[in-house]
């Protein structure tokens, strides 16, 4: 019973962070039709951001706030210098962002070296949760992830900016005809998506080994989450991440992380084989 509880908490932790990652991917793909292969590196940059700011002597809480913002700024620069030249050409966006991911990864190797670093975990102690001792920081990670997801939905569905973004997603030309600056929205969206990845990396930094290649382990499940649930909505990646994360955690608990990855892949392939439009499309058809 106790072990099941801890397992559920750990799984929720992983799932919520995965939701952040896939939400960022989906936001960027939805608005700009860009498949961002550098998303994993944005996440890693968030972790390195915390590491660097911590070295500079900043308190951990400040690092958590500043690092995602720095990643958003890097995203903004990448959009202006590189991504915007590939719009309308889906395959080129894959190539361009993959190139960007290589540059970022090797850049990290040059600056920080190829080895892994550890971010000092904030000493928050542990609390009893339903009779089990659980680290407070992991609860903080969950709360921050959930808050960031809620914030994203709030921005997209409750603000004028989000309304404009949804209009651009639906019909870019008509949105421009109503006076919406679609270029500005592209910039903001890419920065926002990168920032979400940066936040995921920042909150996870004390829990993972921070090395230049850590991104791939997040990019792949992030994409799977979107594919399994289906493109074209913001709730898709949330549902998909829940599914992918749950299968991964469950399989890892029963066997090993390697078998877990294999299970996730096989499950994803089966789902996509039978529901090529994703699981969410099923619901839409019934509605």
């Amino acid at each position: 019973m106790d072990r099941i509880l801890i397992f559920l908490l750990d799984s929720s932790n992983a799932i919520l962070v995965l939701m952040l990652v896939s939400l960022g991917l989906a936001v960027i793909f939805g608005l700009m039709n860009v498949i961002n292969m550098a998303h994993g590196e944005f996440l890693v940059l968030g972790a390195y951001g915390v590491l660097t700011l911590q070295w500079a002597g900043l308190p951990f809480a400040a690092c958590l706030v500043i690092a995602p913002m720095l990643v958003a700024l890097i995203g903004l620069a990448a959009e202006e210098l590189l991504i915007r030249r590939t719009y309308e050409r889906l395959l080129d966006t894959i190539l361009a962002t993959w190139g960007l991911s290589l540059v970022l990864r090797q850049g990290l190797v040059l600056i920080y070296g190829p080895g892994s670093h550890a971010v000092a975990a904030p000493d928050m102690g542990s609390v009893p949760v339903f009779g089990e001792i659980y680290p407070v920081y992991r609860l903080v990670v969950m709360a921050l992830s959930a808050a960031a997801i809620a914030f994203t939905f709030w921005v997209f569905f409750r603000t004028a900016l989000g309304l404009q973004a949804r209009a651009v997603i639906a019909n870019r030309n008509m949105a421009a005809c109503l006076g919406i600056n679609t270029r500005m929205l592209d910039r903001l969206t890419f920065a926002f998506g990168a920032g979400l990845a940066g936040l995921a990396g920042a909150v996870m930094s004390p829990l993972i080994s921070v090395d230049p290649n850590a991104g791939l382990g997040w990019l792949v499940p992030g994409f799977l989450s979107i594919l399994v649930a289906g493109l074209g909505s913001l709730s898709g990646p949330i549902v998909g991440a829940a599914g992918v994360g749950a299968v991964d955690s469950l399989a890892a608990a029963i066997s090993s992380p390697v078998w877990a990855q294999l299970t996730v892949f096989v499950a994803a392939i089966i789902v996509i084989r039978f529901f090529p439009q994703g699981l969410m499309a099923l619901k839409r058809r019934e509605a």
Partner: protein, 226 residues
């Protein structure tokens, strides 16, 4: 208020507009008539900035529009009701209107124009009937408080009885606001009834400009029949 001179534009290699010139005065409704493929929609897309023009000039109130982005042209007071309406089907009726009201203007303008839309405010635009979608597209354009309204085939795919009702409402509203209108319409009877003047477009140039009342069957036949 709108002056177009010697406009050349097209898609890919093919030139559709071949030196078209046209003017619209303040408060004037001008109907663009002509056979399909003569460049009427292309002209509206050029004015809106959705299509670049190769040569010639477009001026709004004396200010050149060449090189401006579509959104900048919209902000200068040009509103567009495209062929096929292009409302945002996934967004609610109210959200469609709010988008147009973000830079000044109020969605009440749209509801006042077509009160039937108010009852559908929370419904997705895509769930409306063809006539209501057209009402929404026009209301969306008017909410932005434009100076120039571009209408492309507003009667297309709508029941004739509804068409006349919409046309009367729009004409009355446009007249009272002193808007300038450029109207592309296949239904020539309707177009000539609401417009002050008809400009006939033939092979990408303005072939004739005639007051609506003076347009005869013979003139129509010479420009409209194949």
């Amino acid at each position: 208020m709108l002056e177009i001179q010697e406009l050349h534009a097209g898609y890919g290699g093919g030139e559709v507009l071949r030196g078209l010139s046209l003017g619209v005065a303040h408060g004037e409704i001008v109907a663009l008539l002509g056979r399909n493929g003569m460049g009427k929609t292309t002209l509206l897309r050029c004015i809106m900035g959705l299509l670049p023009h190769a040569a010639g000039s477009i001026r709004l109130e004396g200010q050149p529009l060449s090189g401006l982005d579509c959104f900048e042209i919209a902000r200068r007071g040009v509103a567009y009701v495209p062929q096929g309406r292009e409302i945002f089907g996934q967004l609610t009726v109210e959200e469609n209107l709010r988008l147009a009201a973000l830079r000044g203007g109020t969605i009440e303008t749209g509801y006042d124009l077509f009160p039937g839309l108010r009852a559908r405010a929370k419904d997705p635009g895509g769930s409306l009937s063809g006539g209501q979608q057209q009402q929404l597209a026009i209301a969306r354009a008017m909410v932005a408080k434009p100076r120039l309204l571009l209408l492309d085939e507003p009667s297309e795919g709508i029941q004739p009885s509804v068409v006349n009702e919409i046309a009367d409402i729009v004409t009355r509203s446009v007249r009272s606001m002193g808007l300038s209108v450029l109207l592309v319409e296949q239904n020539t009877d309707l177009a000539l009834r609401v417009a002050d003047r008809a400009v006939f477009v033939d092979h990408g140039v303005d072939a004739a400009s005639i007051a609506s009342r003076a347009v005869t069957r013979e003139i129509l036949a010479s420009y409209m029949e194949l």
